[in-house]
């Protein structure tokens, strides 16, 4: 074998967090030692985070996977002929035939891990730009109709139909309209926005351009959390390249439409993921929630009618335009159409991204894909939908993953994050943390949330210490009711969900903590 061998070593922040940079370096060294020349591509992650760093070697048969590769494994791998697809205990065969990957339906994440994230040519050669080209042939009304017909619902948490929001913005009076991408991704257990931005940033850019065409907006803002420094760097680099290739700028792909995107980095505040707090923050103020109405679609950023959508909502749009609304709507179940990008996290053996049509069960995800807990112990609880989501007991593994089934179980899909806990978890502490988190992150605008959460922590501490348990349990339930009914936004309004779910399913942990005598 001679010539250049192409090797993929993910540059995704998660892969780098477990040594991908050192692996890339060692590969270079070891290949040099045997006189082989490498072209190392720092691709996004394939989403099988349990196999990271996942090294792929391009061969005539396709891309072969090796992982998880530690830096000290590299010499042995190269010796075993990895660069020609040699066998090794860390070899997994063709990446796309790995069961975890093969069983998914990759639409939004189709290119993530496949391409060089900052290669515009790669992007175009792998289906990129088809959506925006289609959109350029359509009227704004027709673009909005496609999005509406696809059944796409918001992936940021609330599941609001995207087409209806876009139509409202298009119809709203105003000299200027804006597009705003919510990339605050504050929910624990979620990382899909980050991986998409790091792994296929042109997709988000194309999506925002389409949103701009749909509502005649010429400016878009991405509100990206500061905890993601690498995503910010990738997105800025991609925006620069998109200008060079004419996807952004005064004339989008040679048309007479202009569009530009600005990246704004958050400053460490969970509530700024709530859309109106995000708008306040984008305008340079404290992230205090605004009362609605007016809806952001009518009076949003800088007072303009504004599309506010999550990264994944927007990222679904190019495929909807390119492949047609009907093809997208064919996937899924009931009123949950298309694919959802689930994220398996916490105490799970095979954590990562699972993009699949709605309708898979919770058990199908955490056991079928996830392989149970990382510790090998029994699953005790699963938190779905982020810190405001309920804790579900293992008996709920049959639950179907769609918006309606979840709300039927007093739970929510949220941003698709699924956090698994084994049987060593103290669920009383998890209930306490839900209140503590709300106390830390509350914007402070309304009393039930601001004061309620602090009181909630105190009351739970008393219950756990065995002080007047019955009376304090009653107080806790009252407090939850007040927060649910009296809070302006879902921060205070939904914090009771995880707390009440602990009371309902794991009450013993709360009262039994320290003996629980009255």
């Amino acid at each position: 074998m001679s010539g250049l061998t192409t090797v993929f070593v993910p540059g995704d922040a998660a892969a780098r967090s477990v040594g991908a940079d050192a692996v890339a370096q060692r590969l270079e060294t070891e290949a040099g030692r045997i006189g082989r020349q490498l072209r190392i591509v720092r691709n996004g992650s394939r989403g099988m985070l349990f196999l990271e760093p996942l090294v792929e070697v391009a061969t005539e048969a396709g891309r072969l996977a090796y992982g998880p590769v530690a830096p000290e494994d590299v010499a042995g791998l190269v010796e075993a002929g990895m660069l020609d697809g040699g066998e090794h205990p860390l070899a997994h065969g063709l990446t796309e035939q790995i069961d975890y990957f093969a069983r998914q339906t990759r639409l939004t994440f189709a290119r993530v891990g496949l391409t060089d994230p900052l290669s515009f040519d790669d992007y175009e050669a792998n289906g990129g730009l088809a959506g925006v080209r289609k959109a350029l042939e359509l009227t704004p009304e027709a673009i909005v109709a496609e999005v509406t017909d696809s059944g796409l619902r918001g992936r940021g948490g609330a599941g609001f139909p995207a087409g209806i929001k876009w139509r409202t913005v298009l119809g709203a009076p105003g000299k200027e309209r804006l597009v705003c991408c919510n990339a605050d991704e504050g929910d624990s257990g979620t990382f899909a926005d980050r991986m998409l931005i790091e792994g296929d940033p042109f997709l988000l850019i194309e999506a925002m351009v389409i949103a701009g065409l749909a509502v005649a907006a010429t400016e878009g803002y991405v509100y990206l959390r500061s905890e993601y420094p690498q995503a910010a760097a990738m997105l800025r680099a991609a925006i620069h390249l998109a200008h060079e290739h004419g996807l952004l700028g005064a004339s989008v792909l040679g048309s007479d439409h202009a569009f530009d995107i600005f990246v704004r980095v958050g400053a460490g505040s969970y509530i700024c993921g709530e859309e109106t707090a995000m708008l306040e923050s984008l305008e340079g103020r404290r992230g205090v929630v605004r009362a609605k109405p007016p809806l952001p679609a009518i009076a949003g950023l800088f007072g303009c009618p504004t599309i506010v959508n999550n990264v994944l909502t927007l990222a679904a749009v190019p495929e909807i335009l390119a492949g047609g609304a009907a093809a997208y709507a064919d996937l899924g179940t009931g009123r949950s159409r298309g694919t959802q990008v689930f994220q398996l996290a916490g105490n799970i053996r095979c954590g990562g991204i699972v993009e699949t049509a709605f309708g898979v069960t919770l058990g199908g995800l955490v056991e079928g894909f996830g392989g149970g807990t990382a510790s090998g112990r029994p699953i005790r609880a699963i938190q779905a939908g982020g810190p405001l989501g309920s804790y579900l007991p293992a008996s709920e593994l049959g639950l179907e993953m769609d918006y309606e089934a979840f709300s039927g179980a007093d739970a929510m899909l949220g941003h698709g994050g699924i956090v698994v806990f084994d049987d060593t978890v103290d669920m009383g502490l998890q209930a306490r943390f839900a209140m503590e988190f709300c106390a830390i992150e509350s914007c402070g605008k309304c009393t039930p949330c601001r004061v309620g959460a602090v009181r909630g922590v105190e009351v739970i501490d008393k219950i756990r210490a065995g002080i007047e348990v019955e009376a304090n349990l009653e107080l806790l339930e009252d407090l939850c009711e007040t927060m649910t009914d009296g809070s302006l936004c879902a921060m205070g309004g939904l914090t009771p969900q995880p707390v009440l779910s602990v009371l309902q399913h794991f009450g013993g942990d709360l009262v039994g903590a320290r003996g629980g005598t009255n």
Partner: protein, 165 residues
Amino acid sequence: MQWGARRSYEAFSPERAGEVIALRSSERGPLIEILRDLQATFGYLDPAATPIVAEALNLSEAEVYGVISFYADFRTEPAGRRVLQICRAEACQAMGAEKLCAHARKRLGVDFGSTTPDGAITLLEVFCLGNCALSPAVLADGQLIGRVDDSTLDELIEAAELASR
């Protein structure tokens, strides 16, 4: 795994602050961006910067201060030479983050939000770093590290202490 690149900062001066502010003052709603730039330049937000920012953006000092105090990222005093952020959110809790936090506090002898007396390390809590499938996670001066255990922390801390001697 190692710390991310160490940042170096300029000494605060009103003139330099003015220059940093001027770069963005024509943007829409630039206050938070400007505060971030100032912090990236000087390492913290000097109280003397508040009136300069307020004047440049035609805001009251109270408004500027209100924003600084709202966001966790902004600090009004210099940090230690290294900044260690430990994730305390649920997916990391499920993999022992609270034990890791206890270890860090004990080893450093400081609580979250504080800097070791020798100025080597500032310890901060953070809620989710987007590395929830490889938890527990920390951010060590911008370098994300996954599957962290006590010994990973010890190595980081020793490296920082050594460099501070």
